[in-house]
């Protein structure tokens, strides 16, 4: 009987191992009510009292072993089936995805927003003003009287003798100072106009962002610190700034501000024309005449102002070689941003 049991075990395990085995049929064949193992167990009565528990134990062990094998084979079969199914469902992942419409901000907006975010984070609010502006705010309130030679450097579009297209966003500063008492900490972005014909580096319409801070005890060191922080945030932590003395009628002292070249880090390259520095900003301490004209006492308050061209920064940042691209709005250009 022991041999019979061992034989059944060997046969069953071998049959179950065949890849094409029908596991359910084999279960019934060996373990079912009419199965081979059950048949053997039914003959147990003929055994001696000593043999019965031994054979019984053996039969149970064999049943457990066959059951375990069945379970393992079922699991393996199931896993294989899933694998085959998934294999059959395989997709070509290199086929392009469904087309999802993707819009793009204009590069000028990207730069302007970045500038705004930086200064919002530094406690500035954003102020706006008219583009068709009074001569008074564009020039006179900024210490540029009629016939001032500084007017020559900004060829201005006029509507009437006293109304013009603003040639800078500075009139917004004058308007802000008239309305608001210090502390003033504002950024004025927007369109400005100068009568320059369109070419690779000029446009009769362009964008400026100007900042103004007026309060008690504002120093030129504060101006430097502010622009340094701005430059590091905008162009990278390693960026340095350099002030060069300059003249603007509405600030005194005035400076042109360079940042260390963000491509070569100051060693000199094509972008910075070998200089290591790139001119980015004009800045200075608000002229006391400007403060006075806007009703702020320069003996009590001081302030600084700075301004930059959005186009210039966008062109440097994205290496755009021709300003005209910005206003032609070819979608093949816009799609790159």
């Amino acid at each position: 009987m022991r041999e019979t049991l061992e034989k059944i075990k060997a046969e069953a395990l071998e049959a179950l191992s065949a890849p094409s085995a029908n596991i359910e049929d084999l279960r019934i064949k060996y373990l079912g009510k009419k199965g081979e193992l059950t048949a053997v167990l039914r003959g147990m009565g003929k055994l001696s009292a000593e043999e019965r528990p031994v054979i019984g134990q053996l039969a149970n062990d064999i049943r457990a072993e066959i059951e375990a094998k069945i379970e393992a084979m079922t699991a393996e079969r199931h896993a294989r089936e899933i694998e085959e199914k998934l294999e059959a469902e395989r997709l070509d992942v290199t086929i392009p995805g469904y087309k999802i419409a993707q819009g793009h901000f204009h590069p000028l907006t990207l730069v302007q927003r970045q500038l705004e975010e930086i200064f919002l984070g530094m406690g500035y609010s954003i102020v706006e003003g008219p583009e068709v502006e009074l001569d008074y705010y564009n020039f006179q309130a900024l210490n540029i009287p009629k016939d001032h030679p500084a007017r020559d450097t900004q060829d201005t579009f006029y509507i009437t003798e006293n109304i013009l297209l603003r040639s800078q966003t500075s009139p917004v500063q004058a308007r802000t100072m008239e309305k608001q008492k210090p502390p003033i900490k504002v950024l004025s972005p927007g369109r400005v106009y100068r009568s320059d014909a369109v070419d690779a580096t000029h446009s009769p319409l362009f964008h400026q962002v100007e900042g103004l801070v007026v309060d008690k005890g504002i120093t030129m060191g504060d101006l430097k610190g502010t622009l340094e922080m701005f430059a590091k945030t905008m162009f990278g932590e390693e960026t340095k700034i350099r002030f060069r003395p300059h003249h603007f009628p509405f600030t005194e002292p005035s400076a042109e501000v360079d940042v260390s070249c963000f491509v070569c880090g100051g060693k000199g390259c094509r972008l910075c024309k070998g200089e290591g520095w790139i001119e980015i900003l004009g800045a200075g301490m608000v002229h006391p005449n400007v403060l006075r004209m806007c009703g702020i006492d320069p003996e009590v308050y001081s302030g600084f102002a700075f301004g930059m061209g959005v186009e210039r920064i966008a062109m440097l940042k994205y290496r755009i070689d021709d300003m005209r691209h910005l206003y032609e709005n070819d979608v093949r250009f816009l799609n790159q941003f």
């Binding site: 419409a101 919002l120 509507i159 210090p182 900490k185 014909a197 319409l205 504060d222 430097k224 003395p245």
Partner: protein, 804 residues
Amino acid sequence: MQLSMKWLADYTDVSDITIKEYCDRMTMSGSKVEGFEEIGTDISGVVCGKILEISRHPNAERLVVCKVDVGIDAPIQVITAATNVFEGAVVPVARDGAHLPGDVKIKKGKLRGEVSEGMFCSIAELGLSLNDMPGAIEDGILILNHVGLDDIPLGADMVEALGLRDTVVEFEITSNRPDCLSVLGLARESAVTFGKELNLSTPKHDYASADGDDISNYLNVKITDTEHCYRYSSRVVKNVKIAPSPLWLRMKLRSSGVRPINNIVDITNYVMLEYGQPMHAFDYRCLDGASINVRKAEDGEKFVSLDSIPHDLDSTMLVIADSKKAVALAGVMGGENSEITDSTTTVVFESATFHPGNVRVTAKKLGMRTESSARFEKGLDCENTMPALDRACELIELLGAGEVVGGTIDVYPTKKEKATLPLNADVINNFLGVNLTLEYMAETLRKLDFEVSEDMTSVTVPFFRDDVRCMNDLAEEIIRMYGYNEIQSTLSNSASPTVGARTERQSFDVRLHDMLVGMGFNEIETFSFISPSYYDKIRLAADDSRRKCVVISNPLGEDTSVMRTTALPSMLKILADNYSVKNRDMLLFENAKVYLPTTANELPEEPARLTLGFISADDKVGFYRMKGYVEAILAIAGISDASFKSCKTEPTFHPGRCAEIYAGDVCLGVFGEAHPETADNYGIGCKVYIAELAVDAIYAARRAEIRYTAIPKHPAIERDFSFVCDETVEAGSVAAVIKAANKLVANVELFDIYRGPQLGEGKKSMSYAVMLRGEDKTLTDTEADEAAAAILSALETELGVKLR
């Protein structure tokens, strides 16, 4: 301003500083350097030689063989084709290995079998013009005997001997510093910047003729317009011998970019460059009435300037006149009628100051900006007229160009006073954010020619620094010499805290733009000015109010001559430009201003307009796609009760495919398919969909505050209705009737429109899904049936629509 470093050396010695460092440090102390040029470095190996013997070339008729003494043991042989050479001529000889301008190299060689060890040079070959070397000829060898230079030692380097080598630094001088438009001004800045001595000399100023002759015997000067002429100083020079200036003077002018003319004219230019005071010289013979009157021109007065160009003057322009006629345009240019010529024997020197604005406007009106007007329009120092005049007379004597007549006429109605400012170290330190001593400040100002009081509490500003008028100006003088970049960076520690935030409106725009880009729109930027003809392109009627716009009085061109009152032409143009380069897949938006005129002399209104645009080959869905975008924008603004009205009156649009959007009575904008003629006018060969929305109105109509409403607790019952109606029945009115028919109606949605032959001509079938919901309970079928009946009856009575 072009500065000759050789000229600078007359006043301060910066020879131990490299040119690169000189330029960098001058820029950092406030005199911006644009660049520098080393002139004369392209010439080498050219020496002075004397032609000892000329013989015919054995093999060439047009060539001659010259034996030339170039200061070495044996003469060299030079073959030349030049015809103006002669035995005894002293000439520049480019020897073997010499370099000439234009990268020309001279090598020893054979010309038709005869050895030539060099080449004789013409003026052009030395980079000179006839003005630089008067007496020379253009098409021949420079014969030094003919230009008074035959005393140059043989063998001497010609670059050295002629003084051709110089370094020229180009400065960009800001408008507040006309004093730096001069060698002296820049010498002062250089001396302070590099801590060097400034070596000034005061020219002789008392001229008395030995024969007792006096200027009063010659001239009478009157300033009629004292408002525009502040000072007029004058001297007379007699027995003038017009001749070329000496070489050293010509070479300085040349380095400064000024053409030498003759000794008298050159002296006026020399003084202008050196002292920054423009001068003029009149031929005394040409002054009618022996008088000078500074007056306004007559309207229509004729005047021919030195450059032979006739001008019509007007009564705003200041002229220098004699008793009969204008002889100079004050501060701009002299007149042809009193020009210095070779036969001039008596000269009147003018050294004057004029109203800067008047000079600027006159020069601009006549389109003749000169070296002189460029200086005057920045405002020159009245106290500089006499030193300049003295310097000119000194040069007359130095050059032996004439005899200065004794006496000066100096009309100076209001003598200038020097300004005095308080000096307070604490105020300046606190303003700059530095910590400098009062002594340092005083010392720096003194070096810049400011007078500082003994107790260092006040500063007297030199006459030539009219730009210094307040504490800020003194602070700048100090900090530019101390170094802008030495200021320690700080971050407004003393300032009051402020909140940095966008306004609600600014945030609304940001959100709107983010959403549009998220929906696939590309943002565009277009010019605010357009051509008035663009209004024709978008088919506006001749009397359309939008044609009334803000007009630029000095536009660049017709294309950019008026401020737009609608942004649609800009959008259409960009769509068209893209279409023309075969870009098809585009969805564009712009949020920018339009400019609506108000009353004359008032600023226009500048409302924002959001334009949307795309083109589509598919006729069916374009309008509703655009409407979908518009609805999405309204949804972002939280406007749930907007209505859409068919609009036949917007000429830019297809009359049957255009809608206006309303929130109550307020129009929020218009959108639809562009009129086929509009598309045609822009050369777009397919359907164009555009929208122009009034962002300000949308913002005003927005839902400002969000309030949560409870999610319904009870399930809804959905009923579908399909019915046939006339084509003219609008879906919007059907939905409105359904909605109003019963209070249980929670939502109405159109899900199908069908047209077919079985419905008949002019009919359509519409299918709506209507959601019914009780507010506080689950509806029974009976209640739903009752609601459905109410809907049907309302549709029938109000619209005559019947269930299909």
